[in-house]
């Protein structure tokens, strides 16, 4: 009560005119200046909506439910499947892509190139021209990976006969899927679709996938969360740096592969392929993150983000309490370092489903674990720690399974809260690769980008609406 205030030491949060701090400090009071700026991108109406959601019991409770589901999820690599059979609601003439929904005519260069490559891979067309005509004719359905419990890096292309990782959350039973990583250079996910790319995809489908399926079977599944946690202690953030995780995975796999009936030449080729790609684990990391976050999705009233994804044109998010709606804004340009000969002018806007890792509290959010990664933005290890610490201000909690040595083994900040993003203006940080804007050239750099605020302001309005309707 007011009278209780008279018995306490006055401690003031000052929001607005900074000159008011003086009188309080000089007369012995405690005061903290808030570095305030108009929230919700300066839209007073959204700001009002937000204010009514702050510390609202129903939202806090829903977030705890969602966060607990995310935290208790146990993603286990349960096998390798074929997309057309494994993915729910996968059509025969359907191609999945990264990010929120987008029409063919609006897609970016790398995504179009990758789709043409997938049509050739499927054998639906004989050549590039035919494949392009087919893609623009409407004969092929394009849908986001996320609509099929799946994720894919960069263009994120999954066509029916492609092999996919199958990851099961053994706590809740939900499954998540991701395609295989092809390695760096000319790859389908960057829009390359030449004969070498298609040949490699065929090899991955015909030789690598059965070998891996056999190996995983021998292992009886692979717990991914402990592997990710261990990699975080070895300098990975399991988004843009997967060197340690890929090695850990291969270490488990080799003896299993040798116990299968896979011809030794194929085992050797598979081992060489995995050993030659420091990003091999990325697609497993993504599937694990997707499995953990899907467990948290669909809690009415929850303001926790369950997906962030980009299609090269738009950045989109989904929120636990707002169903399957995407909240989108133009995809940002990535700031980073470029391989020799390339500049920002060559870069495609932010692309791919790999921001599922940040959504799950790793990647940029676990940057403190991965000082090497800040080299991409010319930063220092201290910047990496600062970035992780900053993210604690916009998250529901910390994932105690993902501890960070540099932060005295504190858990990684996880469970982005749209309310906190909109209130503070702190945008979720994302570590990512940069694709060339034209199809087929491949990765031209890597760096850091931030999720656009507009996605979160829209989501706040929608969440408030859903809560009003629910009452």
């Amino acid at each position: 009560m007011t009278q209780a205030l008279f018995q306490e030491k006055l401690q003031v949060l000052n929001i607005g005119l900074s000159s008011f701090v003086d009188s309080i400090t000089r007369t012995g009071g405690s005061v903290l200046q808030i570095e305030w700026a108009p929230p919700a991108e300066g839209q007073p109406e959204v700001g009002r909506t937000l204010a009514q959601l702050v510390n609202l019991l129903s939202v806090e409770t829903a977030n705890q439910t969602a966060f607990d589901a995310y935290q208790s999820a146990q993603p286990v690599l349960s096998g390798v499947g074929i997309a057309g059979k494994a993915l729910p609601n996968m059509g025969e003439r359907m191609i999945l892509h990264g990010g929120p929904p987008i029409h063919w005519k609006n897609m970016c260069g790398p995504m179009k190139g990758a789709i043409i490559g997938a049509i050739l891979y499927e054998g639906w067309a004989e050549n590039l021209a035919e494949a392009e005509a087919m893609a623009s004719s409407g004969d092929v359905a394009f849908e986001p990976c996320h609509h099929h419990n799946a994720v894919g890096p960069m263009a994120g292309i999954i066509s029916p006969s492609m092999p996919v990782w199958m990851v099961t959350n053994t706590t809740d039973g939900n499954q998540a899927f991701c395609n295989f990583n092809e390695g760096l250079g000319k790859a389908l996910r960057f829009g390359a679709n030449g004969p070498d790319v298609i040949t490699r995809l065929k090899w991955m489908g015909q030789i690598l996938a059965p070998a891996l399926q056999a190996g995983v079977e021998v292992l009886g599944g692979v717990d991914l969360k402990p592997m990710m946690a261990q990699a975080l202690h070895m300098g990975d953030e399991v988004h843009n740096r997967n060197a340690a995780a890929s090695a850990l995975f291969l270490k488990r796999l080799i003896s299993a592969l040798l116990k299968t009936r896979t011809p030794s030449a194929d085992v050797a080729a598979a081992v060489d392929f995995i050993a030659g790609n420091d990003h091999f684990f990325l697609n497993l990391s993504m599937a694990a993150c997707k499995a953990m976050l899907d467990a948290a999705h669909g809690v009415p009233g929850s303001s926790m983000v369950t997906a962030m994804a980009r299609n090269g044109v738009e950045f989109g998010i989904r929120v636990s309490g707002t169903g399957n709606t995407w909240f989108t804004a133009p995809a940002p340009i990535v700031h980073g370092l470029f391989f020799p000969g390339y500049t920002t002018a060559d870069a495609a806007p932010d692309l791919g489903d790999s921001a599922i890792t940040e959504t799950a509290g790793v990647g940029g959010f676990a940057m403190a674990a991965s000082p090497a990664i800040v080299k991409f933005v010319g930063g220092t290890p201290q910047d990496a720690i600062d970035n992780t610490n900053t993210m604690t201000h916009i998250t529901v909690g910390r994932n105690n399974a993902f501890t960070l040595p540099a932060l005295n083994f504190a858990g990684s900040p996880a469970g982005i809260d749209i309310r906190k993003v909109v209130d503070t203006g702190i945008q979720p940080i994302i570590n990512t690769g940069i694709a060339h804007r034209e199809a087929g050239i491949g990765q031209i750099g890597a760096g850091i980008t931030r999720a656009p605020l507009a996605c979160f302001t829209q989501a706040v309005s929608a969440l408030a609406h859903s809560i009003d309707d629910g009452q």
Partner: protein, 517 residues
């Protein structure tokens, strides 16, 4: 003459900081006009009105806009200077160990850093203020809402929400409070004591707390409610909460309530609560009939000065006596015929209103921009008519400009203008000290006062200047230093507004030319 603009995207600074920056940049060589604002629609239209902006700009409320006018070759350097001043680390971010992370951006983040916080002091632009106040209340903080332009429906919602949670909302438009001895916003450094004050007016609170300090009393708490609290629809929620808290506070022996007259039902509720307070309650409902206020333990006070004197007497265990006002006759020097009118140039709204009330009784019609009688409204606020008192803190004068307690330029200009009016006999001034006000108001006023007197003298007139300083010895500006400087240029100083007003009236009455003409 050329113009230049610069937009700094997503870069926020508060309006006072930006006004300070604007005035610094305007002083640079070759710059005629300068304005740095957050690029809200309202601010952009202000710049357009001022002629600083002729082209449309693409900017939002989160972008900082600098607009300059002056010599073409000077503008680039001025823009650069402005930008580099802005990029300096904010001096306000005291106590934040940078290595521990970023400074707090929201109330919720602030609470994580200052875990025991119990009050949010909110002075954001009005359109965002209610939202910030709601967040603070939802997080369990009491609120002092300095911001104005908060809608009445928001005020009602905030106060009811707070009341249900045993929290208080001081404001909106609450300029002054002293909680646990800590002055907040525009407040003075007063001795601690046993008198608790609840006031709907910021300058009213400042006057009463300063006079209590001057006359040997002390303040337990001074609670602001904002000017609309006693509106019928708000129902005096904050005043009733404040009264209840002070009644229960063992450190408070006497309670003072200050407001313009509330609506009858609200007045009834407040007086009923006061009657049940179990303590002496001094009530100053400016302009109300004392007999309607008087109860067994309720002491009506006609002026802020009376309220202070009665409270000091009661707190000291004495019976309150009526105060005598002595007019130092030495100040009344002969004036030219035709010098007939009082011209009050106020920075404090409540002082202006009190002056209107008191002068009306003695002199009849008092013209004002904030008149007691609607019919006495000045048609042109920039030009005085007969007896005139103006509140220079009114929105009409402060649009795009700092408050006259911070920036004395507008009042000084008006003072010179009055000095040139052969009908002006006496100038009435308030000088408000304390935190938030100008660091040395006398230094700003003295040259203008000298100039005004010289101007009148050259025309064969003597211009009387009467005023008072609202402040304390412990204020950063120091009461006696300010008073000495003003006396040295011939200002006749009273202790309070009421005394100053009576002196001013006597100047024109003694000359036999005032009265009810």
């Amino acid at each position: 003459m050329a113009r230049a603009t610069k937009i700094i995207r997503n870069f926020y600074r508060d309006s006072v900081s930006l006004m300070q920056l604007s005035s610094t940049i305007a002083k640079l060589p070759g710059v005629e006009q300068a304005s740095a604002v957050m690029a809200s629609i309202n601010n952009i239209s202000l710049l357009q009105e001022a002629g600083l902006l002729t082209e449309p700009v693409e900017a939002s409320a989160n972008d900082l806009l600098i607009a300059l006018q002056g010599e073409a070759d000077a503008l680039e350097a001025a823009l650069a200077a402005a930008e580099s001043a802005l990029k300096q680390p904010s001096a306000s971010s005291t106590g934040n160990d940078k290595s521990r992370g970023i400074s707090p951006r929201s109330i919720e983040m602030g609470l994580a850093n200052l875990v025991g916080a119990n009050l949010a002091l909110i002075s954001t632009p009005g359109e965002y203020a209610a939202s910030e106040a709601f967040k603070a209340l939802r997080l369990g903080l009491n609120v002092m809402l300095f911001s104005d332009n908060v809608e009445l429906k928001d005020e009602i919602a905030l106060k009811r929400f707070a009341q249900d949670r045993d929290l208080i909302v001081m404001g909106p438009d609450c300029g002054t409070a002293i909680i646990n001895g800590i002055p907040l916003a525009f407040a003075n450094v007063v001795r601690r004591g046993t008198i608790g004050v609840v006031g709907a007016s910021g300058t009213g609170l400042q006057q009463v707390t300063c006079l209590i300090d001057r006359w040997g009393g002390g303040i337990s708490q001074a609670i602001g409610t904002g000017g609309h609290d006693l509106h019928r629809d708000v129902g005096g929620i904050s005043m009733l909460q404040g009264l209840k808290a002070l009644a229960a506070d063992p450190s408070t022996s006497v309670i003072v309530l200050i407001s313009k007259p509330p609506s009858p039902e609200v007045a009834g509720k407040v007086l009923e609560a006061a009657r049940g307070a179990g303590k002496a309650v001094v009530v100053n409902f400016l302009g109300a009939d004392p007999d309607r206020v008087r109860r067994e333990n309720i002491y009506p006070a006609v002026t802020l000065e009376d309220a202070s004197a009665v409270a000091v007497a009661l707190a000291g265990g004495r019976t309150p006596e009526a105060r005598k006002t002595s007019v130092p006759s030495s100040s009344i020097t002969p004036r030219a015929s035709g010098q007939r009118y009082v011209r009050g140039l106020y920075s404090g709204g409540t002082f202006c209103y009190e002056a209107s009330l008191l002068l009306k009784k003695e002199l009849g019609q008092i013209n004002s921009n904030t008149p007691v009688e609607p019919g006495d409204r000045l048609s042109d606020v920039w030009t005085s008519q007969k007896h005139t008192v103006i509140d220079l803190g009114d929105d009409l004068f402060t649009r795009g400009r700092p408050h006259p307690m911070i920036d004395h330029r507008l009042r000084n200009e008006r003072l010179i203008k009055e000095a040139g009016d052969p009908e002006a006999a006496v100038i009435l001034l308030d000088v408000v000290l304390g935190y938030g006000s100008h660091p040395d108001p006398a230094a700003e006023l003295v040259p203008a006062i000298q100039k005004a007197r010289d101007l009148a003298a050259k025309a064969g007139r003597h211009l009387a200047i009467v005023g008072f300083v609202c402040g304390t010895a412990a204020d950063p500006q120091n009461l006696s230093r300010q008073e000495t400087a003003l006396r040295e240029v011939g200002v006749t100083l009273a202790e309070s507004n009421a005394q100053a007003v009576r002196m001013a009236a006597s100047v024109v009455l003694e000359a036999g030319i005032g009265g009810r003409l």
